[in-house]
Symmetry: C2
Subunit: 342 residues, 2 copies
DNA sequence: CTGTTAGCGCCTTCAT
DNA sequence: ATGAAGGCGCTAACAG
């Protein structure tokens, strides 16, 4: 049971018989120090288990060596890979990670009080955690930021990293059309305002248009990236009697909901209707039939966002926009690999 | 584009025509301040968008108002609920959250450099992120800690919050025995040293013993809480020709792997073999057959751990151990609801 | 109720 | 290459 607050730079200096400036120099390597002295200082630090107080250092340098991370409450299993990617590069660069969730309170219209220039050098903003005003607010404060899965509001030049949504959505929908001959493809949209969802919808419309297919308003339903909402929407669709032979969902969770609804009404997948999702979450390969979807490189997204943020923090030029490639992964829910399809 | 570093307490004091102490007082409410003055100060703070610099405050108070969180790279979807529970109570108590992952480096044998008394007031340690030595190390430093899904090493009195593993495991295994008449129940163990896994194993053995069932060494295999490892283990089990009529896995991921292996060998679930998992992850209800498992109250675990840590930080008495209840959730993989079972 | 004055622990000129 | 001294922004006695 030791004191929580350990040795200070003074203790080290005294133990090594030097001034605190010298200790500071060996710690930061700012100015050359004679080998002999450096060794003594190192030894003293070891012996005293000295760790510089972050607050003191931060106060003096006006840097926090901390990156903020604003996330949304996200269902699914990509929270961990995203954070993992971020943490790896932050740690590598010797930055700590301060985290805040949008949570039940919904997206913030301004920076949450717990995260700002007063306690971090830069901020990673995940889609759904901050409104456009919030982003503008942070930018106005001069806080370095990078957006994840989200593009900046008009006139607010904040770098962002996203994944290839539109082209991938178009590709997978065209797969349903070309390979499986589907003609009436319904899409389950993401939550209103969700960019990933909107881009995926754009790709969907492109595909339909390119093949001259039905593209009326009734073909899109709200799935909200939620299993339950998707299930309800599809159930209603079925009872409405509207014809359809495929469902493309904005994400895998919604696809699972669609699958459940389809099954409960006895509709065969992929026999009668093809289903395709997006994200390639862990459950995609275990639902039945295994879900054809688009793989999202979540960990890389996190890592790349952190890299860009570090550049902004350091005053280097960051890419205004980086789009990471996605990849279609064909399984069985579209019809491939089963007697009826391919 | 403003300055990243905004107004200081001096600016506010000047604007309000008072001393910095007064400003400090209205901020912290430590000492009564006349209403008139308080109002002027509040106004000045608003106008200047004043936010106290965390470092300065921390340096002066010797408190960071920050909780550290040490996590492991965890597969599955319980990262988000856990963090969500923690964040809710931390935010409520006005604490920031500093996070670090054990990551590819594996569990730390000591506190990671990025997390310690120098930058947080207390630390939440998730199972698999820190070794017993690491826990002892943190305790020796006098850093308030609370362990999650992990009990403290002998002689190191650190509070912990866990879930009911043993009894729940016993209950679900007995379900397989009593309700479904299973006699040769194999268990897929978690990673060596994982406490949840070990407690679940204990419950499994209890159940077997209580019913006088085969309990030889060959009945347990390593599943490592991984889909792939579990699949491999079960495949090997099947090819070995050893008889078994049920599989209890330490977690749902392993259950999925078991299901895959069983299916690839044409073994009917639950007809020929019953399967049961643990955790009730999101995929549990979508695999086929839907997985009978035990629900783990992940978000509550996070919240409770944060609450206990706050108590320790404040010097109040914390419960040395809180065990949250789990609940068996019956689906189809055990045999219930299908023609063969129940 | 309010102002003055020391530090909190570290970095950083400025001398030497 | 090293030491001395000031200051980062804030809180906390201590006077009044």
């Amino acid at each position: 049971m030791g004191e929580t607050l350990g040795a200070t730079i003074h203790d080290v200096a005294r133990a090594a018989g030097v001034s605190i400036s010298t200790v500071s120099r060996v710690i930061n390597g700012t100015v050359p120090v004679s080998n002999a002295v450096a060794a003594r200082v190192e030894a003293a630090m070891q012996a005293l288990r000295y760790v510089p107080r972050a607050a003191a250092r931060s106060l003096a340098t006006r840097r926090t060596q901390t990156l903020g991370l604003l996330m949304a409450n996200m269902a699914g299993d990509f929270f961990e890979p995203l954070l993992s990617g971020i943490e790896a590069v932050a740690t590598e660069a010797d930055y700590a990670l301060l985290i805040s969730l949008a949570g039940r309170r919904g997206p913030h219209g301004a920076l949450p009080p717990g995260l700002g220039p007063h306690n971090c050098d830069g901020l990673l903003v995940f889609a759904g955690s901050l409104t456009a005003e919030g982003v503008a607010h942070g930018h106005a404060l001069g806080l370095p930021m990078v957006l994840i899965q989200l593009r900046p509001p008009e006139g607010v030049p904040v770098p962002c990293v996203t994944i290839e949504n539109r082209a991938a959505a178009r590709e997978i929908v065209e797969h349903l059309i070309v390979v499986h001959g589907r003609r009436r493809i319904v899409m389950l949209l993401g939550p209103a305002g969700n960019e990933d969802g909107e881009r995926r919808e754009a790709g969907y419309h492109e595909a339909l248009a390119a093949h001259g297919l039905a593209n009326d308003h009734g073909m899109t339903l709200r799935g909200n990236f939620e299993r339950g909402a998707a299930r309800a929407a599809v159930s209603q669709l079925i009872t409405s009697g509207a014809p359809f032979d495929a469902i493309f969902t904005g994400d895998d969770e919604a696809a699972v909901g669609a699958l459940q609804a389809l099954r409960s009404f006895g509709r065969q997948v992929p026999g009668e209707v093809s289903v395709a999702g997006f994200d390639d979450q862990r459950l995609a390969e275990v639902v039945s039939p295994p879900l054809t979807t688009v793989h999202a490189p979540t960990e890389q997204v996190g890592a790349e966002a952190a890299r860009q943020l570090l550049r902004v923090v350091r005053g280097e030029a960051a890419k205004p926009r980086v789009v990471l490639p996605t990849k279609m992964v064909i399984r069985r829910s579209c019809g491939c690999g089963s007697e009826s399809g391919k």
